[in-house]
């Protein structure tokens, strides 16, 4: 009797395990379809991108063809552009001589009778002048002028006048004049006195530039 009961029990187990295969089948089918859908999807997407790429490549080829037909325009414009570049450089490097001449007048507040002005595009100036009285240097003009180095050649009557001029220039140190050096001095041949060359530097006095007047 017990055996029969056991046999009944086995039959029930078998039925249960056959029923459990259904979700596994379902899972397998779902996995299959997922893989198939993803594969189809990605293939379609890839194909669409390929088509898009082809269209863009064709457009680019069309534009490049058009550019090739406009090669002369391209070359002409390239030359114009390069030339304008060079012209802009030339224009930007130009020194404003008119302003420089005007600056020299204003720099000495019209206290010098200027005979000759030599200007170079490196913004240096050589001025030959006669003193008409005490030299006055305009601080505001010294700070705004483009001239950074100025050689001032003065004819002076005596050594005391030279000392007086040096003292005169010293008084403007730090007030637009950063340096005033006596570059050269020589005795005049045809008349009494000296020709003295002062090297004047204008701008703001900074720690690197020691202001001073030397002989």
């Amino acid at each position: 009797m017990e055996r029969e009961i056991n046999l009944l029990g086995e039959t029930r187990k078998k039925q249960v395990s056959e029923l459990n295969n259904l979700p596994l089948f379902g899972g397998s089918i779902a996995l299959f379809f997922i893989v198939v859908f993803v594969t189809i999807g990605i293939t379609i997407y890839s194909y669409t991108l390929e088509k898009q790429k082809d269209t863009i490549t064709a457009d680019i080829a069309k534009y490049e063809e058009e550019i090739a037909s406009l090669k002369d325009v391209e070359e002409k414009k390239s030359i114009v552009t390069l030339k304008v570049d060079e012209l802009e450089k030339i224009y930007s490097k130009r020194f404003d001589y008119v302003k420089a001449i005007d600056d020299i007048q204003k720099l000495f507040s019209y206290t010098l009778q200027i005979d000759t002005i030599d200007l170079k595009d490196d913004k240096s100036a050589v001025v030959e002048a006669k003193k008409t009285g005490s030299i006055v240097i305009s601080e505001s003009q010294a700070l705004t002028t483009d001239i950074k180095d100025l050689t001032l050649k003065l004819k002076l009557g005596s050594s005391s006048e030279l000392q007086e001029t040096v003292d005169n220039l010293k008084s403007f140190l730090g007030k637009g004049l950063t340096r005033a050096d006596v570059k050269d001095s020589s005795k005049l041949e045809d008349e009494e006195g000296y020709e003295v060359e002062f090297l004047l530097t204008f701008g703001l006095l900074d720690s690197k530039t020691e202001g001073g007047t030397s002989q």
Partner: protein, 290 residues
């Protein structure tokens, strides 16, 4: 019979697991062998497409710009810029500009002197400009630019006229750049300005030409620079040329050869001082908007 029955029982018990395992292995295989490379391919392709799209946009802008140039301002721009900076040693425009300047009222300008090598062309140009470079001319400009140096002596009675003249030199279409200037006697105190004393100005001037072989710039450079340079080109258009002042055409002889009338036209060359600025490129002929 019994063993086959057991086998069937086992198979029927584990068939679901077997199919799931096989499907999973197949799925992994497909993912590994097909989907992953395809995804990578798609990513690469998308990046490529983005790059190509940008390139297409740039090219479209470039084509549009070139077409616009071809149909509008390029010829005028080219003429303007070539006059200012010729591709070869254009001595004619140099002389015309010099002569035009010398016709300024109230100033006496020394005749234009040909320095040796100034009008030399083609093969010998390089040698000439190298010599000039050694002499210090054109050191501040780029190596492609070739300078032509000459001197100009000017005398005038009024300092205002002299200053205006110096300003004028820097406002000619053929680019003149003053390298150095000597102003002699008498730039004196304001009280004595405008006296009869003669002012003499000696100048070392450079003009330039650009013999570089044609080269095509990149499209972005061309469009960007082309757009930013319009203001400068406009400014260049305002500069002075003297062609009609110096090279004014003169009508001589009969106009109609088939008439019996013996009247001939007498040369009537007139110099129009007031039209020397912007003679050939009037604002109407040269639109400011490029």
């Amino acid at each position: 019979m019994k063993s086959s029955k057991v086998l069937i029982t086992y198979i029927s018990r584990y068939i679901g697991v077997v199919i799931l395992v096989v499907t999973s292995i197949a799925a992994v295989g497909i993912v590994w062998k097909y989907i992953v490379p395809k995804v990578q391919e798609v990513q690469t392709m998308r990046e490529e497409i983005e790059t190509l799209k940008k390139k297409r946009t740039d090219l479209a802008t470039y084509v549009q710009y070139l077409n616009q140039l071809a149909s509008s301002t390029l010829e005028i721009e080219q003429a303007l810029v070539n006059y200012a900076l010729p591709s070869e040693n254009d001595v004619i425009s140099l002389i015309v500009t010099y002569e035009g300047l010398s016709k300024t009222e109230g100033v006496d300008v020394s005749p234009f002197s040909f320095t040796p090598g100034l009008i030399r062309k083609a093969k010998t140009e390089t040698d000439t400009t190298n010599q000039m470079g050694e002499n210090g001319a054109g050191e501040s400009t780029s190596p492609e630019i070739k300078p032509l140096d000459f001197t100009m002596e000017v005398s005038t009675e009024k300092s205002e006229t002299a200053l205006d003249f110096i300003q004028k030199i820097h406002n000619t279409r053929r680019v003149f750049s003053i390298k150095s200037l000597t102003w002699k006697n008498p730039l004196v105190t304001s009280s004595s300005q405008g006296t009869d004393n003669e002012i003499t100005i000696s100048m070392n001037i450079s003009t330039f030409y650009y013999p570089k072989a044609p080269q095509v710039l990149g499209s972005a450079d061309l469009v960007n620079k082309g757009k930013t340079q319009t203001a400068f080109i406009d400014k260049l258009n305002q500069t002075m040329i003297f062609d009609s002042l110096v090279l004014d055409s003169v009508q001589v002889g009969k106009q109609d050869f088939f008439t019996l009338d013996d009247t001939v036209i007498v040369p009537t060359k007139t110099i129009k001082k007031d039209t020397e600025a912007t003679l050939s490129a009037t604002p109407s002929a040269f639109p400011g908007d490029f």
